[in-house]
Amino acid sequence: MNERRKFGEVLTGLTGLTLTLLLSFCLVIGLIFILSRTPLRTIYFFFVGAFTNRYYLGNMLNVAVPLVFTGLGISIAFKASVFNLGGEGQIYAGGLAATAVCLAMPAANGFLGGLSALAGAAVLSGAIAGVSGFFRMKWNTDEMISSFLLSSAVVLAANYFITGPLGDPKNNLLATLAVGPQYGLARIFPPSKLNISAFFAMAAALMVFFFMYKSRAGYEMRMCGLNREFSRYGGINVSKYLVLPMIMSGALHGLGGGLMVLGTYGATIEGYSFGMGWNGIAVALIAKNNPLGLIPAAFLFAYLDAGAKAAMLNSDVTFEIAAIAQSFIFYFVTAQALYGFARKRRRA
């Protein structure tokens, strides 16, 4: 009996999601008809274009990679009912930290150096998010707002380093110096930029899944997220799970940024990760905070991105149509997902 009930729940969830997507897509199609002189061509490239050659396809998958990481970061926090809204700064700073580590060791071994760079990214961003978590635990300072504010400050500070001390004078100072070539992650689908970070993303999703549902800390964290009073009554250390999820969330964001730098760009370019943090939230919501569901959800956003690029290159609309499509999804996805989010927000 309970199997059928669970199936029914999944079905309603999927139906809600499908409706959201259908509605959003219809609106986008309508917009294309208004704006484009060749609407059918545009629609074709928007919805199908990403699959037409290796370059588009590979790049689309590559864009999904950091989304998986930010989505994971947000999911972990959401599951614990703490709210990390500093994703933008955390991913941005993560990439910068990885760059700095690599620049500091221009001739080290690629593998070890790369690992240290990623570790540095995770540590820095984990700490940034952890600050908000700490103050939430100690004095009940709203971590949602504090993480957002800190993130905004971090972005500005990072820009300083990118265009200043670490900047590449040959590049108009809009990026840091390039990291050593030995740190670049191997490409797996030329001519696109898709690299082995895609495997890292899948591994990360699996690891987070196991952590959340099979480990002791994951269990305790989820219980705290659902009902803190119950968890406290049962003997769980509720304070710990106000800080730990934030740290983990930040670390995941940082890793995503580090992988973007090492895998795709080879340097920290100003604004390279902008939007990844916010999209991570949408991705997590669509996936209902399930780590395995994040992969298709990230794929969906990357698909919109790639579709817009293809439409732009082959037709007469501009890339920002993707942003509009994404905004529609944002608008509607919580009208369905509201139930989960609002209840959590009411201080579980």
């Binding site: 309970n2 219980m223 659902l226 009902n227 769980i236």
Partner: protein, 516 residues
């Protein structure tokens, strides 16, 4: 013709609870009418229906002979009905005047409020009832008694003829209660009619003209106050049901498992201590019941013994050692089991599965290198599910279970590990007979195994049936400790519960008939 007639009022809540079950209620003009009953009797629901804050599922309301429908407070106000809520609906940051006129603000012109007119009109109302409130003062600066007066003024400002007061004296001091009663009498003189919801019999006798007794969603009796006394009201309120004796051998293995020594709990902003020098002892193989009306310290007792709230002073001893201030996890390590009164929020995580609920206190015993041993946990949950006959199996979300089954999950969890001290609070509230029996059996098993059990309940039948000794709490104090349960009557316990008797009264003389 009665002023107000409510006929056949029925209200069902989603969990099939009949809050009001075919209630007939009638009110004479210009009387002060009390509605009494224990918690959960349905008094507040009935009045909320009258005021439009709840909608009736069946029945009709007639005011002065005319059929009326009340969709919300605005309708009620228009019909001349006002309500003073138990939990004040005030905005503390606003002034008295702002709170009173909110929604019907007088205007100076199209855009602006006429504050002076408001203040003036309110001052008139205040003065005519001898209140002492500055309309411009912010509500958060007022005393609790004054806040209630603001609620009353709010209604009088709207020219109500019928005023409902929901448990108005629960937060007031003696003098404030006095003042309130004066106000009610003066309102009566002005031609107004009042309904007062209360469970305090002393007040009923003092202020009301007639009284309606409710129990479990039904009206039990309607009397003229002059024609009854407190004892009869108490009898009507708690009901006369068959006392069932559970088969048990009387024994108390001896050592004190739990001792509360002068435990006091104070809260900032409240004059009266929530727990006032409580002394209580529970021995192994013993069930000590704690009776009382909710709001008199039962909930706080539960919280402090279970380690969820810090006491202000005193000691709590577990097997001789002071455990006050220890974390819940530590208490559980020491062998404490706790079945809370708040089943749905504290006792369970409704969105989690039965299994996840069952292991919250014991999951650290199922570890391998930081990871949970899924197989072992599954076995554990299945074993418990079977032995406690929990419908639905270990994988369903607890929120989908019936009340009885949720309680079984909690019991299964708490009683799964051997405990020497068990705290249960309102364990059979809302449960049917079969589930209740099950709960009693389990508790008796614990007793046989040597545990000491603190059984907090407002259900006197079950206390009389199961407890070896009964302590009664009133206003945060233990006012009785009755070891001879066999000869005890519910009326006698009722008297202690309602403050009419006190075995441990402090040296200051406390007259038996002092207002409760």
């Amino acid at each position: 013709m009665p002023y107000l007639e409510m006929k056949g009022i029925t209200k069902l809540y989603p969990n099939h609870l009949r809050a009001n079950d075919g209630i007939d209620f009638s009110l004479e003009k210009n009387e002060i009418h009390a509605i009494v009953g224990e918690n959960g009797a349905g008094k507040t629901t009935l009045m909320k229906i009258l005021y439009g804050l709840e909608q009736l599922d069946a029945g009709s309301i007639m005011l002065s002979g005319k059929n009326v429908t009340i969709h919300g407070p605005l309708d009620a106000n228009r019909l001349g009905i006002g309500m003073v809520h138990q939990h004040f609906k005030l905005i503390p940051e606003f002034s008295v005047a702002e709170n009173v006129v909110l929604g019907i603000e007088p205007r100076k012109n199209v855009l602006f409020m006429d504050r002076n007119a408001a203040v003036q009109r309110i001052s008139e109302v205040i003065a005519s009832h001898g209140f002492n409130i500055d309309p411009r003062a912010r509500v958060l600066t007022l005393t609790v008694g004054q806040m209630q007066q603001v609620e009353i003024v709010k209604m009088l400002y709207r020219n109500v003829d019928l005023l409902i007061l929901d448990e108005p004296t629960s937060v007031l001091t003696e003098q404030e209660i006095h003042k309130l009663f004066e106000t009610l009498r003066s309102l009566q003189k002005d031609g107004k009619t009042c309904i007062i919801i209360t469970h305090k019999l002393q007040e009923v006798m003092e202020i009301s003209d007639r009284v309606t007794v409710m129990r479990k969603g039904k009206v039990i009796a309607v009397r003229r106050t002059a024609e009854v006394d407190k004892a009869e009201l108490a009898r009507l309120m708690v009901g006369r049901s068959v006392l069932f004796q559970i088969e048990r051998a009387k024994n108390a293995c001896g050592s004190a498992v739990l001792e509360l020594v002068n435990v006091t709990l104070k809260q900032r902003g409240r004059d009266r201590a929530l727990l006032d020098a409580v002394n209580l002892t529970v021995r192994s193989c013993e069930i000590v019941g704690v009776a009382g009306v909710s709001g008199n310290g039962l909930g706080e007792l539960e919280d402090v013994v279970a380690g969820l709230r810090r006491i202000t002073s005193g000691r709590i001893l577990h097997n001789g050692e002071d455990i006050a201030g220890l974390a819940p996890a530590t208490l559980r390590e020491r062998g404490l089991a706790y079945v809370p009164a708040d089943r749905l929020r504290r006792g369970a995580s409704l969105q989690s599965t039965v299994t996840e609920n069952m292991i919250v206190t014991s999951h650290h015993r199922f570890l391998r290198a930081g990871f949970l041993k899924g197989g072992k946990i599954k076995q554990f949950a299945e074993r418990l599910t079977k032995s406690f006959s929990i419908d639905g199996g270990p994988r369903v979300p607890v929120g989908t279970l019936s009340g009885g089954n949720i309680q079984k999950v909690i019991l299964a969890r708490e009683l799964a590990t051997a405990s020497n001290l068990v705290i249960v609070a309102e364990p059979t509230w809302g449960l049917d007979v079969a589930s209740s029996q099950f709960v009693y059996e389990k508790i008796l098993e614990m007793r046989k195994a040597g545990a000491g059990i603190l059984f907090i309940s407002s259900n006197l039948d079950e206390l009389l049936g199961i407890a070896d000794a009964i302590a009664v709490m009133y206003r945060g104090r233990v006012v009785a400790f009755l070891s001879n349960v066999k000869g005890l009557s519910k009326e006698r316990i009722g008297e202690y519960m309602l403050g009419l008797r006190d075995d441990f009264a402090p040296p200051r003389t406390q007259k038996k008939d002092e207002p409760a």
